[in-house]
């Protein structure tokens, strides 16, 4: 991509093609011989990481699309069936869902790197603007992808985001109807989002080609911001950059795999395991984390139209960055003031992200407004002003001068101090939050679960006992519709044999038909049948239970959660704590109390529960001591029942958890060894270039 190549393949067949289509020369000059500045640091590997992530998303996405059904009635179930029944479907789904987050992690690092080192400046303006376009496309793609599982957060996220367009004067309503293809978010909306979600990644890939092309015309920027002048300033792309990128990608994959195998739901929202319901709004509608700063900007402005303009403006303003910042020195390394403001800006973005996840009330609104002003001030006031008043330090004459000078002095502590400061700042804000986290209900106590941690496994005894509790107690009101009898004999489950599962199934009466006479009939269950639901439909369930339909329990341990608050959600990342759901379920089962505390009124037909949000639960106390007999001598207490049935319900929500964690261990061993090999290879390749 950088001018005509003098590359000549030696193989005659390749020569024949090369004379007709010089594709090998193009590849050679772009990715082999291409001169890359020799002072690039690891922040420059994020380009390769992003290409890897895009490839990963397209690959996993194409396979997922083979199994997904874009229909409002079937979408949620089809995603669950992918996770449960498709070979390695759980892995594909986790890779794709976590992949979206990782893609954004990488793109944010990539953008901040460009911002810090002035990579948007002359002659790289078009390169930068193409990057902003890719980012916008990514946001659209990510949003539409999040709608596809058709859970509560998908549906309401789609409603809130599409409603943003209703703020447009005069034509707003017609635009929204056009987006929906109906009068509200519904099946036509899901269909078109699926189509566009499949299309846009290829548009992104196209713009990425332009982005790389522009990069190879202008040449890469580098940490010192001086253009390469002589041969000595550059090294060939292969093997130097290739091997370094490989090492960077491998390290990034470690983070990626951490989420895929150990914390797949950490970045998601529990509400999205509840099927979409147009009649019920979840209490807090929160977009995915990567949109949060912009969501905070939207909400901090009291006027609807102005809020929408500010939100889009916050992204569009990036396009004008090359002209807002007219300083001649590129790299912030040589701009003492710009460097400090840059880190303040990073902290502002992180704090805006934090605020975007909080309810818009009290101190959060004020803080949101202040930070929104800071965000725009950075682009509109600070950068133009700095360009005029700042006295930059002298830049080195050439890259090789900079490399030689670097061996003596090390000037990186600035970065780490700033990161520490950023963390301290967010800790401070977090402490305000945890002070008021205890609203509504008590926090469920933590339990010791056999399935927690990186080597967690289900306790077979608990699964079998839990199944008994479910069958004898819960099943009279709650369905378990995603579990088939065959699942009971599957690896990682309760450990029954195929014959036992078949015998278990034959105890059930399953409705089938119509037969030749056109009548429905009942027959004994087979292993392929699913657990029958106690009520024919939701209305019947509602009518029989005082207006509150008992939820299906297949996913309950993943669909329920409670707010961990700051700083716990950061510790949870390292300890792999993700048992909020089971802790909550076990707590609710044991949280019934006859004596209602003062100040709490429980309506007629409801019961007091310490851990239920709002305390008034329609379900009467389901378990009492000695209610279910155990054959294995385990204590027949409420605490034991609760623990067993919760373990069982964790398995119904996540039947492949054991496979996930054991494969995760193998992947980690491989990645760590591979990263080590890559590191030493990279050291060897670069030995005489530093």
């Amino acid at each position: 991509m950088s001018g005509p190549s003098d590359y000549q393949p030696s193989n005659p067949a390749l020569q024949w093609i090369e004379r007709r289509l010089p594709i090998f020369g193009l590849m050679h000059s772009s990715f082999v011989a291409y001169p890359t500045p020799r002072n690039l640091n690891y922040w420059w590997t994020f380009g390769a990481i992003l290409s890897f992530m895009l490839g990963m998303q397209i690959l996993t996405g194409v396979i997922l699309a083979m199994h997904y059904t874009p229909n409002a009635d079937l979408a949620f179930k089809s995603v669950e069936l992918i996770v449960r029944d498709v070979n390695y479907g759980w892995l594909l789904r986790n890779m794709h869902a976590v992949g979206a987050s990782m893609f954004f992690v990488a793109v944010y690092v990539h953008m901040f790197r460009g911002l810090y080192y002035g990579s948007y400046k002359e002659p790289r303006e078009v390169l930068w603007i193409l990057g902003v376009i890719i980012y916008l496309l990514m946001m659209a793609t990510g949003f539409m992808g999040y709608v596809l599982p058709w859970g509560q957060m998908s549906f309401w996220g789609a409603t809130v985001i599409t409603n943003l367009f209703s703020a447009v004067p005069y034509v707003g309503e017609s635009i929204v109807t056009l987006l929906w293809g109906g009068y509200s978010v519904g099946n036509p909306t899901l269909n078109r989002f699926f189509s566009l979600h499949y299309l846009l990644p290829f548009v992104i890939a196209g713009v990425v080609v332009l982005h790389v092309w522009a990069l190879h015309v202008a040449g890469q920027n580098n940490p010192d911001g001086v253009e390469p002048k002589t041969e000595k300033d550059t090294v060939p792309f292969t093997p130097h950059a290739t091997i370094k990128d490989m090492f960077g990608v491998t390290c990034f994959m470690l983070l990626y795999a951490w989420f895929i195998f150990y914390m797949p739901n950490y970045l998601g929202d529990a509400d999205n395991y509840i099927p979409a319901n147009p009649g019920v709004t979840p209490p807090h509608i929160v977009p995915e984390w990567y949109y949060l700063p912009f969501y905070a900007i939207l909400r901090s402005i009291p006027n609807k139209l102005a809020g929408v303009i500010a939100m889009f403006g916050a992204i569009i303003i990036l396009c004008f960055l090359p002209w807002l910042d007219s300083a001649r020195t590129r790299s912030s390394k040589y701009r003492p003031l710009a460097k400090q403001f840059f880190w303040i800006f990073v902290v502002v973005c992180i704090l805006l992200g934090y605020l975007g996840a909080q309810p818009p009330e009290g101190i959060y609104v004020v803080a949101g407004r202040v930070l929104t002003v800071c965000y725009f001030a950075y682009f509109l006031i600070v950068l133009p002003l700095l360009a005029r008043i700042e006295k930059p330090r002298p830049v080195p004459n050439s890259i090789s001068d900079a490399v030689l000078a670097k061996t003596g002095s090390r000037s990186t502590p600035m970065v780490s101090t700033a990161i520490v400061l950023a963390l301290a700042g967010s800790l401070f804000v977090g402490s305000i939050d945890s002070a008021k986290a205890s609203e509504g209900s008590d926090t469920p106590p933590g339990n010791k679960w056999s399935f927690s941690g990186p080597f967690g496994k289900y306790d077979r005894g608990a699964l079998q006992r839990g199944l008994k509790v479910y069958k004898e107690v819960c099943a009279s009101c709650h369905g378990l519709s995603y579990i088939a009898f065959r699942n009971l004999a599957e690896a990682g489950g309760p450990g029954y044999s195929v014959a036992q599962a078949a015998a278990f199934a034959s105890d059930y009466k399953i409705k089938d038909g119509p037969n030749d006479a056109g009548d429905m009939f009942e027959r004994p269950g087979r292993p392929a049948d699913y657990f029958p639901s106690p009520f024919p439909n939701e209305q019947a369930a509602r009518a029989a239970n005082g207006g509150a339909a008992p939820p299906d329990l297949s996913l309950i341990t993943k669909a329920r959660s409670y707010k961990r608050g700051f700083p716990w959600f950061i510790f949870d990342f390292f300890t792999q704590y993700q048992e909020q759901g089971p802790d909550y379920v076990a707590a609710v089962l044991q949280g019934f109390e006859d004596k209602v505390p003062e100040g709490v009124t429980i309506p007629e037909g409801s019961y007091y529960n310490r851990y239920f949000p709002g305390h008034a639960i329609k379900m009467p106390k389901p378990l009492s001591d000695g209610q279910v007999t155990y054959d294995d001598g385990s204590p027949t207490t409420v605490a034991q029942y609760a623990k067993d049935v919760t373990t069982f319900l964790m398995w119904t929500a996540e039947p492949h958890m054991e496979a996930r964690k054991s494969l995760g261990f193998q992947v980690f061993v491989f990645l760590i060894i591979f990263a080590g090999l890559m590191y030493f290879t990279k050291k060897k390749v670069w030995a005489d270039s530093h």
């Binding site: 943003l164 056009l178 709004t281 209490p283 509608i285 909400r299 818009p360």
Partner: protein, 138 residues
């Protein structure tokens, strides 16, 4: 990409029988995928809605303009918050009306915005009384 023929056909007017709704109660029906609240207002709610100084409202509109004359006890509104489209909860909030759990907008017993980020009153869908106890929405 506008709604197809079947979607438009499914959005045809519907008739709702009001006789089972007791005073002080309300029902939620779906029309064009949107929840429509039909409230049988109490005398107190009507009085409250009419006692307000209209000029002081963020989106000034009289209660009389939002209900059909002769049927003042019936309030029919689209239950979609005018902020970002969540569904407000009936009989909650400080104004005997609706409360939106998403961003805290509060509507009064006439469905008018009183507090919170929503800019407009809950819209009144097109409807008319077919008889004293039956309305046609659409």
């Amino acid at each position: 990409m506008n709604p197809d023929a079947s979607t438009i056909a499914a959005g045809a007017p519907i008739e709702v029988d009001l006789s089972p709704i007791a005073e002080g109660q309300d029902i939620k029906v779906f029309w064009r995928g949107k929840p429509i609240y039909i409230s049988h207002r109490t005398k107190k709610q009507i009085d409250e809605a009419r006692a307000v100084n209209v000029a002081s409202l963020p989106d000034p509109q009289t209660d009389e303009a939002r209900v059909k004359s002769g049927h003042e006890q019936w309030l029919v509104v689209i239950g979609i918050c005018t902020h970002l489209g969540c569904i407000p909860i009936a009989h909650e909030g400080n104004y005997d009306g609706f409360f939106c759990p998403c961003h805290g907008s509060q509507y009064d017993s006439s469905g008018r915005i009183r507090q919170g980020p929503a800019p407009l009153n809950l819209p009144v869908p097109p409807y008319q009384f077919v008889s004293d106890t039956k309305i046609q929405i659409g």
